[in-house]
């Protein structure tokens, strides 16, 4: 079975070098070791998630990759150079981008800053620069919003403006810190779609800090998971193990395999710990899928009646169903990257 990452390697990076290489990397904040013994490399042209509990050092890892925080041990190479020396090739979208921008800035100007913001001296914006900004905004689908102020845009649109700003200088690596946080499902889906398109059409290496992997699962090649103070890297099929995820998140997590791929779910907040979760075998789930496509309008209700075990845990089941339909809808947006991955499985 050929994974997407392997194929991307061949297709997109003739030089073949990994995008990021961690060698015994470790980082401290004050006297506290956040994580250490990081030994892995992330292939070029891949989409990788950084996962872990709050405070595990996910954002810290991005800051280290940008060379903004020094390592206390080991080395970290990014796009062929030590961390911090290749930042001109990196597009960075921090967490909560623009949530506190208190200015009249329009979307277009914000994107332009990504191109001209670092230049000292007098530099009137050129037509070529405007065209470049326009191109980035077309790519992320916010071109029609370019004259809107950031404060007038929804969280999802702001996120896409931020991605356009990161894109405008033509980076090879895109780093996004919690890009899906505080977005509704539709906006999450659109953001993921933009990321998949970037990866697929431009061969861009993408790194995403994420709490909830479900929305990203269809496009992910692998994940860096921060566990017990050590970062590990694994391909997606390796990381999606219920025991590992449960350990990783510190709460019970189940992996459900469906015809659309794997997804993992957490029990509902009001579910007692000792309840056996309602898990379905792939062939069983394939049955739901059949109903689903045949009769979409009544599918959710029908599924529940058909398959929920005695209606004991409807709330939990509802969650599985909703996760499934989310991922499905994500796929329905249709990009070849997803389909290839599906074929691979």
């Amino acid at each position: 079975m050929q994974t997407k990452a392997e194929k991307t390697q061949k297709a997109k990076t003739p030089d073949g070098g990994p995008a990021l290489v961690f060698r015994d990397a470790g980082i401290k904040r004050g006297e506290r070791i956040i994580w250490q013994h990081g030994n892995f490399s992330i292939p070029s042209g891949s989409i990788t998630a950084i996962v872990g509990t709050n405070g595990a050092g996910k954002t810290t890892m991005m800051k280290a990759e940008l060379g903004l925080l020094p390592l206390f041990s080991g080395s970290l190479s990014v796009l062929g150079g030590p961390a911090g020396t290749t930042n001109h090739l990196i597009g960075y979208v921090p967490q909560n981008y623009a949530s506190d921008i208190e200015s009249n800035l329009t979307a277009e100007q914000s994107v332009l800053l990504g191109l001209t913001g670092t230049k000292f001296g007098i530099h009137p914006t050129t037509r070529a620069q405007r065209a470049q900004a326009r191109e980035a905004m077309v790519f992320t689908g916010v071109d029609d919003k370019r004259h809107y102020r950031l404060s007038e845009l929804s969280g999802g649109l702001r996120q896409r403006v931020a991605i356009a700003q990161a894109l405008v200088s033509g980076p090879k690596l895109l780093m996004l810190d919690e890009p899906l946080a505080n977005l509704d499902l539709a906006a999450q889906r659109e953001t993921v779609h933009v990321l998949a398109k970037l990866n697929h059409e431009m061969g861009m290496t993408i790194q995403v800090v994420a709490h909830d992997l479900n929305m990203l699962l269809p496009v992910l090649d692998g994940a860096v998971y921060l566990l017990d103070g050590h970062p590990h890297y694994a391909k997606m099929n390796e990381v999606l193990d219920a025991d590992l995820l449960t350990h990783l998140y510190g709460t019970k997590v189940q992996v459900v395999t469906t015809p659309q791929g794997d997804m993992f779910v957490t029990p509902g907040a009001d579910e007692p710990d000792d309840v056996t979760p309602d898990i379905h075998k792939p062939d069983e789930v394939a049955g739901f899928h059949h109903h689903h496509t045949k009769n979409p309008s009544s599918s959710a209700r029908g599924n529940r009646r058909d398959s929920a075990i005695g209606g004991e845990k409807p709330r939990y089941f509802e969650q599985v169903v909703s996760h499934r339909s989310q991922a499905k809808a994500g796929r329905a947006e249709g990009n070849e990257g997803n389909q290839r991955q599906e074929a691979g499985q």
């Binding site: 921090p94 009249n104 700003q165």
Partner: protein, 278 residues
């Protein structure tokens, strides 16, 4: 004569043509230019309260200078710059720490009062420092203001974009290699300069209305940083010059009229914005 006089001054045109009025008008122009440019950055950096506090940190410097027989502006400038560099070195986040800023503000104001009570001349100057006395601005002061403006524009020509980037989007700017620490110290240092030249016009207490309010109004009405700075300067200029003209017509303190005009612009802009979003 104890009744309140509020009569129209029919000789207001003559009043406007006396030499100290000329100085006031030129000073107003210099102040408007500097305040308009820096007001935008102050808002973008969420540092409006820090800017306000800087004026108060300058107060003990101003009254202390009178005590020592030095020019008010010198003492004010040194204290404001000292405070600015301290806040600037602590980082952009520090300028958003409202409690620390407010505490320092209160202490500095108290210290300013203490110095002013140590000599009768400082005591006399106190009201002018607190509320401004644009009509007493000297030729030397005007020259100083003009030099400051030229320096400000020269520095801005060099750092405009990186300063803007770091003000609006510090994390990305930092990742892109903008020296945000330098930008922060630079911003605060320039701010100290702007305050030093604006205090003579409206005083430490009312300076918010001259540095921040016009910029806030301009932010509502325009949609690019540069246009906002230009409009902010114009609003600031209209406020100051309007204040001078009206206070020549009616017996009112110029500071009061300046602050009133600036506030009215802001209220009107807010109203227009509210209607637009209905």
């Amino acid at each position: 004569m104890s009744h309140i006089q509020f009569g129209f001054n029919h000789e207001w045109l003559e009043t406007l043509s006396v030499p100290f009025m000329h100085n006031a008008f030129i000073a107003g122009l210099c102040i408007a230019l500097a305040a308009g440019v820096m007001g935008y950055f102050t808002i973008a950096r969420h540092s409006t309260f820090a800017a306000h506090a800087l004026a108060h940190i300058g107060l003990p410097g101003a009254t202390g200078a009178v005590l020592l027989g030095l020019p008010v502006s010198l003492g004010l400038g040194i204290f404001a710059l000292g405070g600015a560099l301290t806040i600037g070195t602590l980082g952009k986040k520090a300028s958003q720490r409202e409690i620390a800023t407010g505490t320092v503000l209160a202490f500095a104001t108290g210290l300013g009062l203490f110095f002013s009570r140590m000599s009768s001349s400082a005591s006399q100057q106190m009201q002018a420092i607190l509320f401004g006395s644009i009509l007493t601005i000297t030729n030397d002061q005007v020259l100083g203001f003009a030099i400051f403006d030229v320096l400000l524009l020269a520095v801005m020509a060099v750092v405009y974009r990186p300063l803007l980037f770091s003000s609006l989007d510090e994390q990305v700017a930092q990742a892109k290699g903008v020296p945000i620490g330098v930008m922060n110290v630079l911003f605060m240092a320039i701010m100290a300069g702007v305050i030093t030249i604006a205090v003579p016009a409206v005083g430490t207490l009312l300076i918010f209305a001259l540095v921040v309010t016009p910029a806030a109004t301009a932010n509502i009405l325009t949609s690019t940083p540069l246009r906002s700075m230009v409009l902010s300067s114009i609003l600031c200029l209209v406020s100051i010059w309007g204040g001078l003209v009206i206070s020549a017509m009616f017996p009112t303190p110029p500071s009061f009229v300046i602050v009133t005009i600036s506030t009215l612009f802001w209220i009107v802009a807010k109203g227009v914005e509210a209607l637009r979003h209905r």
